[in-house]
Symmetry: C3
Subunit: 465 residues, 3 copies
Amino acid sequence: MGCIQSFRQLCDYPKNTNVHISFPAVCFVWQTAMIILFGIFIRYNEESDPHWVEHKKANNLSDLDNDFYFRYPSFQDVHVMIFIGFGFLMTFLKRYSFGAVGFNFLIAAFGIQWALLMQGWFHSLDAEGKIRIGVENLINADFCVASCLIAYGAVLGKVSNVQLLVLTLFGVTLFAVDEYIIVSVIHARDAGGSMSIHTFGAYYGLCISWMLYRPNLNQSSRLQGSVYHSDVFAMIGTLFLWMFWPSFNSAISDHGDGQHRAVINTYLALASTVLTCMAISSLFNKHGKLDMVHIQNSTLAGGVAVGTAAEFMLMPYGALIVGFCCGIISTLGYIYLTLRFLRLIGGIVGAITAASASKSVYGEEGLINTFDFEGKFKDVVPTQQGGYQAAGLCVALCFGVGGGILVGCILRLPIWGDPADDNCFNDEAYWELPEDEEAASPVLHYNNHMQNKDVAESHFTMEQT
Amino acid sequence: MGCIQSFRQLCDYPKNTNVHISFPAVCFVWQTAMIILFGIFIRYNEESDPHWVEHKKANNLSDLDNDFYFRYPSFQDVHVMIFIGFGFLMTFLKRYSFGAVGFNFLIAAFGIQWALLMQGWFHSLDAEGKIRIGVENLINADFCVASCLIAYGAVLGKVSNVQLLVLTLFGVTLFAVDEYIIVSVIHARDAGGSMSIHTFGAYYGLCISWMLYRPNLNQSSRLQGSVYHSDVFAMIGTLFLWMFWPSFNSAISDHGDGQHRAVINTYLALASTVLTCMAISSLFNKHGKLDMVHIQNSTLAGGVAVGTAAEFMLMPYGALIVGFCCGIISTLGYIYLTLRFLRLIGGIVGAITAASASKSVYGEEGLINTFDFEGKFKDVVPTQQGGYQAAGLCVALCFGVGGGILVGCILRLPIWGDPADDNCFNDEAYWELPEDEEAASPVLHYNNHMQNKDVAESHFTMEQT
Amino acid sequence: MGCIQSFRQLCDYPKNTNVHISFPAVCFVWQTAMIILFGIFIRYNEESDPHWVEHKKANNLSDLDNDFYFRYPSFQDVHVMIFIGFGFLMTFLKRYSFGAVGFNFLIAAFGIQWALLMQGWFHSLDAEGKIRIGVENLINADFCVASCLIAYGAVLGKVSNVQLLVLTLFGVTLFAVDEYIIVSVIHARDAGGSMSIHTFGAYYGLCISWMLYRPNLNQSSRLQGSVYHSDVFAMIGTLFLWMFWPSFNSAISDHGDGQHRAVINTYLALASTVLTCMAISSLFNKHGKLDMVHIQNSTLAGGVAVGTAAEFMLMPYGALIVGFCCGIISTLGYIYLTLRFLRLIGGIVGAITAASASKSVYGEEGLINTFDFEGKFKDVVPTQQGGYQAAGLCVALCFGVGGGILVGCILRLPIWGDPADDNCFNDEAYWELPEDEEAASPVLHYNNHMQNKDVAESHFTMEQT
């Protein structure tokens, strides 16, 4: 710990937010690298290739059997969550809406490309060394980016756009390895990504935030709050995340009953969370008033927590119970703790539900189908699966913490153009702002007038004397 | 009438908006009740249960035959209408955006749970006494909640969050009974819910609002209007409602041509409404200017009115005519009347279209298919069906008015923490508000400065004397 | 040129924004005309007619074979782009948000009706002289309207609502002819409509804007900019356009691999555009800051440019390259040019990709399938197709420029109620505005107070003397 402390001090240096050269350079070089790597590795898969016509005839399929029609509506919902949901959720700060929406856009646009490559190398490299992509890969790329956007939330307003691109590059890389270990090596099921996406993303962000700790930040505290309409903008993000979370948790579930059940479970868990979140928010306010901050953050807890287990036989009342607990814990966490350990619940629910699976509940084929007990895993029993789920959770935790500390160290290097303390939470550092007639200037006008008046009055006074 | 008047006076008491105990208590108790009832009654249906794999094989089905793939995109559209559409439609008030979006969220989250139970008990209790839910139940629950949100619109800004939960509890209960009578007993068709949802909801809300009448409300009238950007926020709600109304009217229509036709009819009726709504808005303004209030409310009239008949052979030009008339009537209604009797049109259109159905238009099988002329209704002829539709409309009306008066009485009891007259339309009563630097404070700053100046000047004056 | 100049002068006249009679009159007459024409021409098609039940049985189909299930999710995405996307994209001006969202709504609602007729007459008139509509027609109507909304963007804030209706009437008419020539006569493929929609729309709008040139417009320049939160509203539009562009480009592609591939190509081109757009925006700003104007406009360029070729075998890296270039060119175009020639790229990419198509890439059947090399076109070879694509591009260009000049002339007639120069970009001309307490009035209050104070002070002074 001492060494981290001294490393932190070592990197304290006068800040320079000029990213005039570094930002365009990074964008161009990385985007060019993407083009080259896509040229070498990425091709259409069987279902998005014109040879589908022949494949279809050979296998006596209809166009509807193309995975596109199973997944596309869910994909678009997830896409909205990534770009509108996360983007607007972070607009709550009074002067950081451009950064919230704009940098979210930047991170996600770069991240999905890099994720297609990273996830492709780990999961779907074929015999010819090509990655064959279809709509499921696009969904997975969006998922992967979600973990980086969660991490962005933890450092919101305190980093430069170049730092965010670095955070994304490493985040996606770590996520892909993490996910590979959890899903392919450990064989844990993680449909809604409670473990790989949320646990990893949250701890990755927290550790980076901790490494970038700014002891004198209260200097810019006047910008740390929200204003009335920025909270309304943030509700757009919150609601799109909340409404489409069932799509998030079901987008890559098994066709048929798997997707269907994941939607029902998530829908119920989310509904239940809203009530307990608001109850706690009111209970812990001295006048019984509700707080928008809690609603913006904690109403989503149920969806996160039910993620891993969304496809399992959680039962409708089970989903309500998960949501009930998460609404309480998440809101209390906001009130009493900075550290949010909530994501862990998702993994734990998954482990318990998997361990208690039985043939009587799922039916023999349903059990095999839901947990993929096939191939080398055909002798796995549900209690073992529970263990796998727990192991997966640990891996996600380790990757988040370890990766966060590593990337945090890199981001403290004095080359990334991060803002000075008194420039945090302020769009002015990285955005060309419109002159803001309606909001800021009345005060300005007033002050100007006052100064003129003071001058006039002092004249007047002088003349009198 | 006299007795209602004196009952009203009886309940006038000093207001106390403190819901510190009552609100959390209601949330916790009701959510716990939901968990218990779900535990007893609610299970997955055949298509969301892992045994689907076996069912599928036994019946030689494909995964695509799972109702999930027919309904899920429509479900998500309806979900957006409920949470974003209704929520943001009500943000038009200058200082009630938190209440609009936030309480809408609360009502809907509780309402969908209670609706799953109520509708389940009436419509889909199986031999074992269980309610088997799938995506169609989720859509129906969202529909049911819509009627309560319409009622919320009628009392916006004048009730507490506890009162809204009570309104929702009774609203959903009454709706489920109402719907059961209309659809199952009377055998009226009501795909887009013009009758059960809109007629019931509107009259339910109006009667509650009438029971809660506040004679001295002009005290807080300065907050009753909109401001420029609150109207823009409200347009987000308006447009999402408008755009997704075709999904609303088709979400539970028959597979195949039924859903297809419902979408076309709704799309056309809505388009036509926009033109006549704007025309009337301009015509009745003394400078020919358009009024946002009309657009926010009356452009949706066509979708509501075409609801019941959406699936019928209304013909494309018929849909345009319905929209044409509704745009005019609804906008005039806004200008001249407080009471909006518009919803009735929906039911009337349905009755006429049903009565004039014929084999030559629908084809024999099409007729049976569209109107469910099967089982005990297999001898029904279209003119009879027209009568059923009219009867359904009356039932919806009675439930709305009766239920509204009843619930209005309950809500006048002095225990619900409703706001005093001068606190209406004000988020401050129930929300922890951010200090609002940009908007409110310039005036504040100014006043503070003025006071300081006055003090300074009086000093100056005193010194002079 | 000289004659155009003198025609312009001829039409200069004192402005009168009163549309009290003309606007309602146009709305009512045109909407009535729509009803009559729909009555004569428009009917349900086979898949939205109740006889579908019989058709289904006769052809041994399932309900899922109804085109509705292939197209409806894409349709709803396109619908959101038209009404929310284009509407909110234009809210960036500080005092023109009502006009942006409201007139966009008006244009689109009228345009889709007229487009159903115009496109129907050209493309799907059957033997009985009827136009049979289904979900694909609705999508095409939305597409058609998009070209008029792009044109609206070019004259934003400078025209009346009546002028916009005229612009739409002619725009849709010209578009339908244009599209008929491109697709049916020349046999060019244009799935995402880069040519017919974007090229036509952009040049149509530019030429109208040029015809309506106002030399003294700087009078109202104080309203030409954005304010902080109007830029955030505009980002809602930008992001919904960006997110749903894959649906736009794939909505009417061939079932199966065609739709699948169009989505992948568009998704990748858009992602790549974001990075180069932001890079150029930062590079050409003197402090390296990003500019919201570039992001609102140029991040969409990749989707436009990939439009025509979206379904072709562009390859994933090809899509990235298109996006890479478009991000650069489009942003530079914004910085250095008023005229945006970008749309042309879409057509050019299409021509090159089509010309270089080969059996080895597409497979024999895939080639026939993708390019519709059937019937009288069965001997077409890909290089010929490349020529067709180029010819299509020229046609779109000619229609845009010619139509724009023609309609521009018509719109200069002194009967349309367009705003005076000092009333441009101001909602006040056509909208009943709420008194805007939060924003404008602090200054006002201040001035009033000041005046009172001045009076008081002059009293004081007088008394002293």
